[in-house]
C-alpha cells in the first residue's frame, strides 16, 4: 500500500510531463534524431539506389516487426542484426513510426 501511494503521484507527474512540449527532450532520443541515422545507408526518405533495401511505402508495424526479427536474429541479415541490438523496444517502435511517416 505504501508503495502504491508513492506510485500514483509519480504517474500523475509523468502524464503531465508527457503533455508538455519539452518533456521528452532531456530523457529520451527524439524519433527524428534516431531515424536520421537510417537515411545514411537507406537513402533520402528511404529511397535507396542499388542493393540496400528501400524503406518506402512501409507500414509502421512492418518496420517494427522486421527490426525486432533482425534483433532476435529470427531473420538473417548482414549489418541490421548488429545495429538493431542497439535499440530498446520503445525506440524500435518510435523508429518504425518515424520511418513509416516519411513523405515520398
Amino acid at each position: 500500500m505504501a508503495a502504491l501511494k508513492k506510485w500514483i503521484p509519480l504517474q500523475v507527474v509523468l502524464l503531465i510531463g508527457a503533455s508538455l512540449p519539452l518533456a521528452a527532450s532531456a530523457d529520451e532520443t527524439a524519433p527524428t534524431v534516431l531515424a536520421a541515422s537510417c537515411v545514411a545507408c537507406h537513402g533520402t526518405s528511404g529511397h535507396s539506389a542499388g542493393a540496400i533495401p528501400s524503406l518506402v511505402d512501409l507500414k509502421a508495424e512492418e518496420v517494427e516487426r522486421q527490426l525486432l526479427a533482425f534483433r532476435s536474429e529470427d531473420t538473417a541479415s548482414t549489418v541490421m542484426g548488429r545495429i538493431s541490438k542497439g535499440y530498446s523496444d520503445a525506440e524500435i517502435a518510435a523508429l518504425a513510426k518515424e520511418v513509416a511517416s516519411w513523405e515520398h
Binding site: 527524439a30 541515422s37 542493393a51
Partner: protein, 425 residues
C-alpha cells in the same frame, strides 16, 4: 529511491516551466539565426543540408575551399582501377538547391570574440553558431624527410584528389615485379581500416595486371581494424602478395628518402618502387586559430551538441574531434552532422538539445565481389563522452560464405550511392 523520484519530478517541472517562459510559440522550425559551416566534406555538408531541411528559417552558409569534394571513401577503388576519380567527386549544386549558401573560399581565421570567420578572399562572415568540419592536416616532419615535396614523390593520398590520381599513375607505371610499400600510422588517424582496404585493392590490381609484384605494409601498430577479416581474405585472395610488418616486427617508419625511394624503420630499410606514406595526422590547423584543440592534436566536444569544450558557440565534427568510441570515418562525420544540426536547431530556438544517438557503418572492399563491414551504435554517457552501446555492433562474421561477402560488396556500393546522394544531391 524516493529521493531519485523527487529529483526527476523537479527536473521535469523545472524544465517545462523554463521552456514555457522562454518559448511563447511551441512547435517545430521556429529557430532562426545565422549558422556558418566550414568544410563541405561528409560532416559539414550533412550538417548544412540537415539544418535547411529541419529549420528552413535558419540561414546556412557553407564555406569550402574547393569547388568540389573528392571523397576518401571509394578512393581506394580508384587506386585499384575499379573507378575513375570522377566517380568519387561530388559537386555542390544539390546543397545550393537545398538553400545552402555556398561560399568557395578559404577560412583564414576564426574570431570567437566577434563571432565571425575571416576569409582569405577578404570577406568576413558573422555567425550565431559556427560549425567546423575541417578534417585533418598531415603532421609534416613527424616522419623524418617526409614534407610536402616528398609527398609529390611518395604520395600519402590520405586527402583524396590529386594525391589519389598521382598514386594511381605511379601504380600504373610500375613494372611487373615491383614493390609497393604502404606505411600505416599509429592510432588515432582518419579511416582506421583504410590502409588495409587500400592494400587489398592495390593487390587486386597487381594480381590482375602485374602478378609478380608485392605489397608490403609497414605498420606503426600491432593490430588494426577488421584485422581477422582482412588477414583471412588476403590468404584466400592474394596468397603471398601482401606482407604485413607489425610495430613489434619493426614496422614503424622513422625516415624516408624520396631521392632513393628508401623507407627506414627502426630495424632496417626497405626500397620501394611505389611508396604510399600515410603519415601521422592531427585536426586541421584551422582549429588552432581559435585555440580549439587546446594544444592537443584533436578537439574535445560535448557528445550531445558537438559543441567545443573550449570555445562556446563553436561546434566541431568529423575527423578533427575526439569522438569517444566513434572512429574517424566519413559516415561518423555525417552522423555527427545530423545530430549537430538537430542540436543547433533546438538551441537557436531556446530549447535544450535533444539526446543524441549515433551509428557508424563502414564497409571495406577486399575485392570487387568481397566486402566486409563494421557497424556500431553509440550514445552519450553522463560525462558527455560518446560510448558504444554494449551488446550491439561488431564486424562481419568470420565464417561467412562467399555469397555474404558478395552481398556486402554490393551494399558497400549502394551505401556510397545513398550517402553521397543524400548529402550532395
Amino acid at each position: 529511491m524516493n529521493g531519485t523520484f523527487r529529483r526527476r519530478e523537479i527536473l521535469k517541472f523545472g524544465g517545462a516551466a523554463l521552456g514555457t517562459l522562454a518559448l511563447p510559440h511551441a512547435g517545430r522550425a521556429q529557430a532562426s539565426g545565422r549558422v556558418v559551416v566550414v568544410g563541405a566534406g561528409f560532416g559539414g555538408a550533412t550538417c548544412a543540408h540537415t539544418l535547411r531541411r529541419i529549420a528552413p528559417s535558419i540561414e546556412v552558409t557553407l564555406v569550402e575551399q574547393n569547388d568540389s569534394f573528392v571523397t576518401c571513401p571509394f578512393s581506394n577503388a580508384v587506386l585499384g582501377g575499379l573507378a575513375e576519380i570522377g566517380a568519387v567527386t561530388q559537386g555542390f549544386d544539390g546543397l545550393r538547391r537545398d538553400g545552402v549558401k555556398m561560399v568557395i573560399d578559404r577560412v583564414e581565421a576564426i574570431d570567437a570574440d566577434s563571432s565571425s570567420v575571416r576569409l582569405a578572399g577578404g570577406g568576413t562572415l558573422p555567425y550565431d553558431r559556427l560549425v567546423l568540419s575541417p578534417g585533418i592536416d598531415i603532421k609534416w616532419g613527424a616522419i623524418e624527410g617526409y614534407d610536402q615535396a616528398a609527398a609529390e614523390m611518395m604520395p600519402h593520398a590520405w586527402k583524396a584528389g590529386p594525391q589519389t590520381v598521382l598514386l594511381r599513375k605511379q601504380l600504373e607505371a610500375m613494372p611487373d615485379g615491383g614493390v609497393v610499400v604502404i606505411a600505416a600510422p599509429a592510432n588515432p588517424f582518419r579511416c582506421p581500416p583504410g590502409p588495409y582496404e587500400r592494400a587489398s585493392l592495390i593487390a587486386h590490381y597487381l594480381k590482375t595486371a602485374k602478378p609478380r609484384s608485392k605489397v608490403i605494409i609497414l605498420d606503426a601498430k600491432d593490430n588494426f581494424s577488421k584485422q581477422g577479416l582482412f588477414t583471412a581474405a588476403w590468404e584466400q585472395l592474394y596468397p603471398g602478395l601482401i606482407e604485413w610488418v607489425s610495430f613489434a616486427e619493426g614496422g614503424a617508419v622513422e625516415r624516408v628518402d624520396p631521392s632513393t625511394m628508401t623507407i627506414e624503420t627502426f630495424f632496417g630499410s626497405q626500397k620501394a618502387d611505389v611508396a604510399n606514406i600515410i603519415p601521422p595526422q592531427r585536426a586541421s590547423l584551422l582549429v588552432d586559430t581559435a585555440g580549439l584543440a587546446a594544444g592537443a592534436d584533436w578537439c574535445e566536444v560535448d557528445g550531445t551538441t558537438l559543441e567545443s569544450k573550449v570555445v562556446p558557440g563553436i561546434h566541431l565534427l568529423g575527423d578533427a574531434i575526439v569522438a569517444g568510441d566513434m572512429p574517424k570515418s566519413g559516415f561518423s562525420a555525417s552522423n555527427q552532422g545530423r545530430v549537430c544540426a538537430h542540436a543547433i536547431a533546438a538551441l537557436l530556438d531556446g530549447k535544450p538539445a535533444p539526446s543524441a544517438s549515433f551509428i557508424n557503418t563502414c564497409y571495406s572492399l577486399v575485392a570487387p565481389d568481397y566486402g566486409i563491414s563494421v557497424a556500431d551504435v553509440f550514445r552519450v554517457a553522463a560525462d558527455g563522452s560518446i560510448k558504444k552501446v554494449d551488446g550491439a555492433g561488431g564486424v562481419s562474421p568470420a565464417d561467412a560464405p562467399a555469397q555474404f561477402r558478395a552481398q556486402e560488396a554490393e551494399y558497400a556500393r549502394s551505401w556510397y550511392a545513398n550517402l553521397t546522394s543524400d548529402i550532395y544531391g
